[in-house]
């Protein structure tokens, strides 16, 4: 793991100022640590050795108090800004990841593990908080306090400095060594642990099913046995994982002990004065303290770094090419899909598909599940580029334009799409469906059966819909979306399985709506599962799967 990835500073603006501030506070801390040690050693040394009185030592004690206060203020400031910057940086990364993922398109999301990106954006990036708040400050202290105190020790007593310098490289060396030795075993242990943990959860998740069959009592023993196996596997891993921690503590504490003994023996011989000895004794643990904290926070930070790396993988993916030509008027333009195919694994779904969407026509796509009907819709919408064939916009009096060269937002403004699961923005039902006048709206609602939904809603048209249409059933949401499609003036209407989730009565509504769209002269692309729906189309196109030609 890279301790501080420069990409973090590039992608999260808030991180930059924070790293700068933390570095400055780190230098300040190093100075204060040294000052505190020297003041303390002087005051204590003179009191112990020369029997100095409190009056003579008052200035030293006073300065010591000032340094203590200053350290408290610095620590407070660090903590205060750490939380603030962590949340902001996480927010910035989240927004960037979400925006980039959306720009990459739905297919890319699915290909790179949609669930993983969702987890990353919602919870995963929060793991950066311990990285920012705990790990990063200690890392910078290790870069300031450790060398700073070491230099001061060197100036005071080169023997102690030699012991400390001799130990320092052993710390990473042993850590790496233990890490190498344990890597394989830990990974195997981790895999076993995760599998056993998943099995217990599987039994818990299946409890309702076991109970429905009256077989819920037996597996309790199995839950216990799995838990025991999980514990043994975990302990096997931990025994090794904790070794590195032990090596770190052993080396650093032992080094301090050796420094103390060496100082003691030279004091006896009179080779060293007490004030110097005390100063080195107080400084010696401070050399290692940040290193030990880095070690202690390493695992918490590693999660954050892993999350950040996942985020960078998304952010550094090349942006899809975007077209720049303004889209032609779809009311007069024909959309052609020519021999298009999209590769999924070894297959093309769809394969060699030809579709012509002439203005004012109703075209239905049919075919078995998984043949690529929804993929074909994504091709028409420009959300996906075909791996084979082309999507072309052909308008009268102009040369045909590939959809890939077109500025998609200008194209999308002329399209209404009703996906399988309608997406509704929050707002009142009236806001969501839109419409030029109340008459238009009511007429459309009567056609789609939304009037009954509105009549039953608590505030009629002014009923607030939650995000995603919360408060309405799937069928009701489909009626809202259908009404909106009717009321929009987009020349191209795409309906993806509009009869799913609807019973036979609901299906009639869709047929009526398609008829109305046709009467209005709009182009309609339908994905149809039911024959009744396909029957109302001018053209029916069967979507097929085919074997991919090796590239």
């Amino acid at each position: 793991m890279r301790p501080l990835d420069p990409r973090l500073l590039r992608h999260a603006r808030s991180a930059r100022g924070y790293v700068g501030l933390t570095a400055a506070l780190g230098i300040l801390t190093a100075a204060l640590v040294v000052a505190q040690a020297l003041l303390l050693a002087r005051a204590l040394g003179r009191a112990v050795h020369d029997g100095a009185t409190l009056d003579t030592l008052a200035p030293l004690v006073g300065w010591l108090a000032v340094v203590v206060l200053a350290r408290a203020v610095v620590t407070s400031a660090q903590e205060r800004w750490a939380h603030r910057s962590a949340t902001r940086a996480v927010g910035e990364l989240r927004e960037a990841v979400v925006a980039r993922t959306v720009a990459l398109g739905p297919r890319r999301l699915a290909a790179t593990g949609g669930a993983a990106t969702v987890t990353l954006a919602t919870r995963g990036l929060d793991a950066l908080e311990p990285y920012f708040v705990r790990y990063l400050p200690q890392l910078l202290l290790a870069a300031t306090v450790t060398p700073g105190t070491l230099l001061v020790v060197l100036g005071l007593d080169w023997v102690s400095a030699a012991i400390l310098v001799g130990t320092l490289p052993l710390v990473p060396l042993f850590m790496v060594l233990v890490g190498r030795l344990t890597e394989g075993r830990s990974e195997a242990g981790l895999a076993t642990m995760q599998r056993l943990g998943a099995q217990v959860l599987d039994l818990l998740a299946g409890l309702p099913t076991l109970r429905a069959f009256g077989r819920e009592r037996g597996p309790a023993a199995r839950v216990h046995a799995l838990g025991d196996a999980h514990r043994r596997a975990t302990m096997g891993t931990l025994r090794i994982a904790f070794l590195s921690g032990m090596v770190l503590e052993l080396l650093t504490t032992l080094a301090v002990a050796l420094v103390a003994v060496a100082i003691g023996l030279r004091l006896v011989d009179g080779d060293l004065d007490l004030v110097t000895g005390l100063a080195v004794l107080v400084l010696a643990p401070e050399v290692f303290w940040p290193l030990r904290q880095v070690g202690a926070q390493f695992h918490a930070a590693a999660d954050g770094v892993a999350a950040a790396e996942q985020a960078f993988a998304v952010l550094d993916a090349p942006a899809p090419p975007t077209g720049s030509l303004p889209a032609p008027d779809l009311a007069t333009t024909t959309v052609h899909l020519r021999e298009v195919g999209v590769r999924t694994g070894d297959a093309l779904t769809p394969a060699g598909l030809d579709v012509t969407l002439a203005p004012g026509s109703v075209v239905a796509l049919v075919g078995p599940s998984g043949a690529g009907k929804s993929t074909a819709v994504e091709l028409v919408l420009g959300l996906l580029r075909p791996d084979a064939g082309t999507v072309v916009l052909d308008s009268p009096g102009a040369p045909p334009v590939p959809l890939g060269d077109v500025d998609l937002p200008s194209y999308w403004r002329q399209v209404t799409w009703l996906p399988q699961r309608p997406v509704l923005e929050p707002g009142t039902i009236a806001d969501v469906v839109g419409g030029a006048s109340d008459q238009d709206r009511d007429a459309a609602a009567t056609l789609t059966g939304l009037d009954a939904v509105v009549a039953a809603a608590p505030d009629g048209w002014r009923t607030e819909l939650g995000r995603g249409g919360a408060g309405l059933s799937l069928g009701q949401r489909q009626r809202v979306a259908l009404t909106r499609a009717l009321l929009s003036d987009a020349p191209l209407v795409v309906l993806d399985e509009p009869t799913a989730h609807l019973d036979a009565a609901g299906e009639q509504v869709v047929l009526d709506a398609v008829r109305r769209l046709r009467e209005d002269g709009r182009t309609v692309l339908l994905v149809a599962h039911r024959a009744s729906l396909a029957a109302c189309a001018d053209t029916v196109v069967t979507v097929r799967t085919g074997a991919a030609v090796p590239a």
């Binding site: 112990v48 108090a65 903590e79 919602t122 999308w412 009565a505």
Partner: protein
């Protein structure tokens, strides 16, 4: 277990004693816990002793005594230097083992109580993310031992020990240290916990908004792009994140104060020892060497209390997790006594004037009379939201009846799994082999029976395509199985159960019309064989001619009932629904321009494993 770090983290919405109750459920072995505390105390005690001994050694050495007077101290310093690392390693092993044992106990208890408790608690468990959180919550409760209680106990024991040792040298310095330890070990963690609580409370809504907006954007990237709403949604996301940041800022103030307090406490302890010790040395009340010890020891004494702010946060997290686990246990109620299993071939199910609904809500269906005796095939139909599934859950005994009665026709009590089995659409496919998944219904299902039953529901081609046949491992919750395959696997499992009454929820979902009707037909055949009663909940009507009775639900009661033919003749809505549905009936000639070639072509184009039913294998 009232230790300095735990006391302050008082109210997080969960009632007092929540965490204690949950920790009791861990059934922690007290001797092991005591051993862990002892090892932890000794480990950090080594660090404190190292500081004290080193101070003594150096101060004494400066008086230039013969070296032999220093031998004990030089050996002790080295021993403390080694002891710390080794003892800490042992402590970590003991405490983690302890916590893992506790988690196993808690998981087993949770399983046993849920398995034996009220059935409706389980049905509820399926909704929401409760289940997904159970694993993490158990871990969080277990973590409190290692990261919350243990550091607190170690800090308390070590603090008392160090203060006592300091008092032995010079009481004022000891008392000052005690005060500073309380500041760092009680006040600072309390502040840190308060900060975290403040931030969490203020951020709840913002976090929920952030998650919902981010999920919406990622799930519906396509529709939002086409609708031109990506910009608006990203602004909403930025706004939610800004509100989270503001909430964190509010919580960062106490946290910053806590961090500062920790630093101040160390400094004050050192200064107090210095300021009170120097005059004492002058007066001769304290040896000069002892002054070095009381001034330098506090520098190492705060390591244990330094862990307590984090411990307080852990206690808070664990308390929230404990509250969720206990709520789950409380909802499942006291375990019901285990009833002896009575295989009841020939038993049936009778409902009289039954009202069905979710507890605490008005019933969705009332006045239902139903006879499910072996040999009878009944269909329950009605529009979406008519209460079909709720009725099925009530008949299966998985929800309590709101009023009226449902029970065995031999008066042997309420519906129980030995009489009635429900195949629900959210039935669980376990992360084990196909055969073991079927054996959930009955432990002694043979491979031959399993193959035959999978064939009955049209899964024989699917089975043939599996790498290890019946021994193929299915992914957790069947991610390797398609929706239609999963549905039929669950159905096969229900068919294998020995219970005489079979309730099946929407067997037709996710299946093409022919397969759907064939599966429903297969279920009714199971009733025809005379040994069982079958009730099918469906919204597809065309296969129901084979049912003995069709019950049409609507408006909260039975709208009509009778045979399929009866209802066709009498109920206009039923007839219309059938007509619309049969319009979609003929499968193959779909469409116009290419319809005549479609069926053959589709078969040719399909990879063999894509559609195992292969166009109505059951018809």
């Amino acid at each position: 277990m009232s230790s300095p770090g735990v006391a302050p983290a008082g109210a997080t919405g969960a009632p007092r004693g929540t965490l204690l109750r949950a920790v009791r459920l861990l059934d922690v072995d007290r001797r092991r816990l005591a051993l862990a505390v002892l090892l932890g105390t000794l480990a950090l005690g080594c660090a404190v002793a190292l500081a004290g001994t080193a101070a003594w050694l150096i101060a004494r050495a400066s008086q230039m005594p013969p070296v032999m007077y220093l031998t004990v101290a030089t050996v002790a310093v080295r021993a403390f230097g080694i002891g710390r690392g080794v003892l800490r390693y042992c402590e970590r092993l003991v405490s983690h083992d302890l916590a893992l044992r506790g988690m196993t106990t808690l998981r087993t208890t949770l399983y046993e109580r849920l398995a034996a408790g009220r059935p409706d608690a389980l049905v509820r468990l399926r909704h929401g993310d409760l289940l997904a959180r159970v694993g993490a919550d158990v871990d969080a409760v277990g973590d409190v031992v290692v990261r919350g209680l243990l550091p607190a106990a170690v800090a308390a024991v070590l603090g008392v020990g160090t203060v006592a040792a300091m008092c032995a040298f010079w009481v004022p310095a000891g008392l000052a240290l005690a005060g500073c330890l309380l500041l760092a070990g009680v006040a600072a963690p309390a502040l840190a916990a308060r900060g975290a609580r403040t931030a969490e409370r203020r951020a709840v809504q913002a976090r929920a908004d952030m998650t919902a907006t981010a999920l919406g954007l990622l799930d519906d990237a396509g529709p939002l792009s086409v609708a031109g709403r990506v910009g608006t949604e990203l602004t909403a996301l930025r706004d939610a994140d800004a509100r989270i940041a503001a909430a964190t800022d509010a919580g960062a103030r106490p946290a910053a104060l806590a961090a500062g307090l920790g630093q101040v406490a160390v400094g004050v302890a050192v200064l107090a020892a210095l300021v009170t010790g120097i005059p004492a040395v002058a007066r001769g009340a304290l040896a000069p060497v002892e002054l070095a010890v009381i001034v330098l020891t506090p520098l190492a004494a705060f390591e244990a209390t330094g862990m307590l702010p984090a411990a307080a946060l852990q206690v808070q997290r664990s308390r929230a997790a404990a509250a969720r686990i206990l709520a789950l246990l409380d909802a499942s109620g006291d375990p019901a006594p285990e009833l002896p299993r009575r295989p009841a071939p020939g038993a049936g199910l009778v409902a009289r004037d039954l009202a069905c609904g979710w507890p605490g809500r008005p019933p969705v269906v009332t006045g239902l009379d139903l006879d499910l005796r072996p040999g009878r095939a009944v269909a329950l139909v009605g529009s979406s939201g008519a209460g079909k599934t709720t009725t099925l859950l009530t008949l299966a005994g998985l929800l309590p009846a709101v009023s009226g009665t449902v029970g065995r026709d031999d008066d042997e009590g309420p519906p129980s799994p030995d009489v009635v089995v429900a195949a629900l659409e959210d039935g669980h496919v376990f992360g084990t082999t196909v055969l073991e998944n079927l054996r959930v219904a009955r432990g002694d299902v043979t491979p031959t029976e399993a193959r035959a039953t999978l064939g009955r529901v049209g899964l024989d081609r699917w089975l043939a395509g599996l790498p290890d046949g019946l021994d193929t491992l299915l992914g957790p919750d069947a991610r390797t199985v398609s929706g239609g395959e999963r549905r039929r696997l669950l159905l096969a499992r229900a068919l294998l159960s020995p219970a005489p009454v079979l309730l099946v929820d929407e067997p037709a979902e996710h299946l093409d019309p022919q397969t759907a009707d064939a599966v429903v037909g297969e279920l009714f055949d199971a009733a025809r064989s005379g040994r069982r009663a079958v009730l099918v909940v469906t919204h597809r009507l065309s296969a129901l001619a084979a049912a003995d009775e069709v019950v049409l639900l609507g408006g909260g009661h039975v709208m009509a009932r009778g045979t399929h033919t009866d209802l066709l003749a009498r109920v206009p809505g039923y007839r219309e629904a059938i007509e619309r549905e049969t319009a979609t009936r003929p499968g193959p000639p779909l469409g116009t321009d290419e319809g005549d070639t479609r069926a053959g072509d589709a078969d040719a184009a399909e990879p063999a494993d894509r559609d195992p039913v292969g166009g109505g294998r059951l018809v």
